[in-house]
Symmetry: C2
Subunit: 296 residues, 2 copies
């Protein structure tokens, strides 16, 4: 029997529809629309595509977006000035600096420059700390998307054994803090590159979130019959049989579909949820700045 699909594309469309209504209501009430500024350093083609997708998605729900582009050889100081200008700009609600950054710029420093009230990626130490303290202001977009995907499909998280594979700053770590916090209440294990025994830990998990950053890392032998599997990865692998010569795959091997009860597809699972949560964080930031509640 094949797993049911955690349809991120459909759920993200629902969320965007609700956000569109919220934005329209606020604009009708006389407020300016929410705004998102993205700062892009350098000319990485993948980053350019991600930024364009964020802009397009923002525009569709009524968020005004703008992109500031800096040359690949920009100094940290030049970037800091752009970040501070956006912090000071009352017309900017949400601000993010697209990753990865050129090597002369330390991403840890950049995270700490962003006004925590505008930090829609949720990566400023203060926002990381508020989440880890169980009082989140902005939840990082991919973890928020994973949880929403489970909850919208009626999958109980409280008291369930969840294995998170990966401990990155943008997925694994904040997801562990999110899922184990009061009110969410999962029993979380964080598996990472120095961990052992995936053969032992995997089959005991009721829910597995694969964010290993490695194509088809999670195999059937790591998964209990009937487990729920969320696949955070996206990779392009050569496939001479495919029309384009490649196919997209995730961190989960296709064979897992036959064993899991639910699985998120790649593409169309976590990816669209991540963007939807970025839009939600931006609308939330706007709401807080304007003194209206989340749906107001």
């Amino acid at each position: 029997m094949s797993a049911s699909i955690l349809d991120g594309k459909a759920l993200a469309a629902d969320i965007r529809r609700r956000l569109t209504e919220t934005v329209a209501r606020r604009v009708e009430a006389g407020l300016r629309p929410p705004s998102l500024r993205v700062i892009l350093v350098g000319d990485d083609p993948a980053s350019a595509i991600y930024v364009r997708n964020k802009e397009k998605a923002a525009a569709k729900v009524g968020i005004t977006g703008d992109v500031e582009s800096l040359a690949a050889d920009s100094s940290a100081e030049e970037l800091r000035q752009r970040v501070e200008a956006a912090n000071a700009d009352p017309g900017v609600d949400g601000l993010l600096v697209q990753l990865p950054l050129p090597e002369q710029i330390d991403p840890a420093q950049v995270r700490s420059w962003i006004d925590p009230e505008k930090d829609v990626d949720g990566l400023h130490p203060e926002n990381v700390g508020l989440l880890a303290s169980g009082e989140p202001r902005f939840v990082p977009c991919t973890p928020a998307g994973c949880l929403a995907l489970l909850q919208a499909n009626g999958i109980e998280v409280s008291g369930r054994r969840v294995l998170i594979i990966g401990r990155s700053l943008i997925v694994g770590r904040p997801l562990a803090n999110l899922l184990s916090m009061k009110g969410v209440d999962a029993t979380v294990t964080i598996y990472h590159s120095r961990s052992r025994d995936l053969e032992r830990l995997g089959p005991q998990a009721e829910i597995i979130v694969a964010a290993a950053g490695q194509a088809e890392f999670l195999r059937a032998e790591h998964v209990a019959e009937g487990a729920v599997v969320v696949d955070v990865g996206i990779h392009r692998v050569d496939d001479p049989a495919a029309p384009k010569g490649y196919r997209l795959t995730g961190d989960v091997h296709p064979e897992v579909r036959e064993k899991a009860s639910w699985i998120s597809p790649v593409p169309g699972g976590v990816g669209p949820m991540t963007i939807a949560m970025l839009l939600k964080n931006t609308v939330d930031a706007h709401g807080r700045r304007m003194g209206v509640d989340g749906d107001g």
Copy 2:
């Protein structure tokens, strides 16, 4: 066979000895000694004892300490003014507000008032976030003490399965972030009040840290033969056979001693380590303010 003892009392004495030398060296070099300010609100007798112990321990290593006492009916605003005065005082290196606070004062607010550079308890959201991001400035004292106790006894943590029982802000959550960060590299599971299956999860752990806040919560059946057990709890339980009519016990049942390979005693395990780590954080804060390194 009975477990070997993780002797926190002896290790804490070692750490205090090294701190005493560091402080003496700095004073000889012409610096003022490190200073710790403790703010105590109300007249909880247990808190008064804890504060006195911290003061005494600080004085012994050469840290100057002072305690500001506020009446139990003080307002949040009065406390905030005291915190801000200490933040602004260049003679204060470390600052902490003793918990618990009277109910009219929200501890989450208080944590965010303290200057993160003076926050020797490591509970300001920014410091929580830096730890959760793998770049700690101050590690909360009890988690830091637990890790030091393992490392000083040659217990390998990297790649080992660690079960943390409890998800409090001051122990369980920061300890999970500490043990799973790069360079420490444990495979961490956080078990809490909504978790199930301690009978299943406990025996799989190579190391268990019990911070459940419940006397003798961890029983032999939850522990694998040869596991390492760290007991964070301290409770006074009635015991008519004891000279004083009570005895002190931890979150670990005495029967676990027969099964574990290592165990931290109560008292004399984690407790003294917590105070030693508070002193270390204060000396570190002083070193950073004075522009000298940790041992300078």
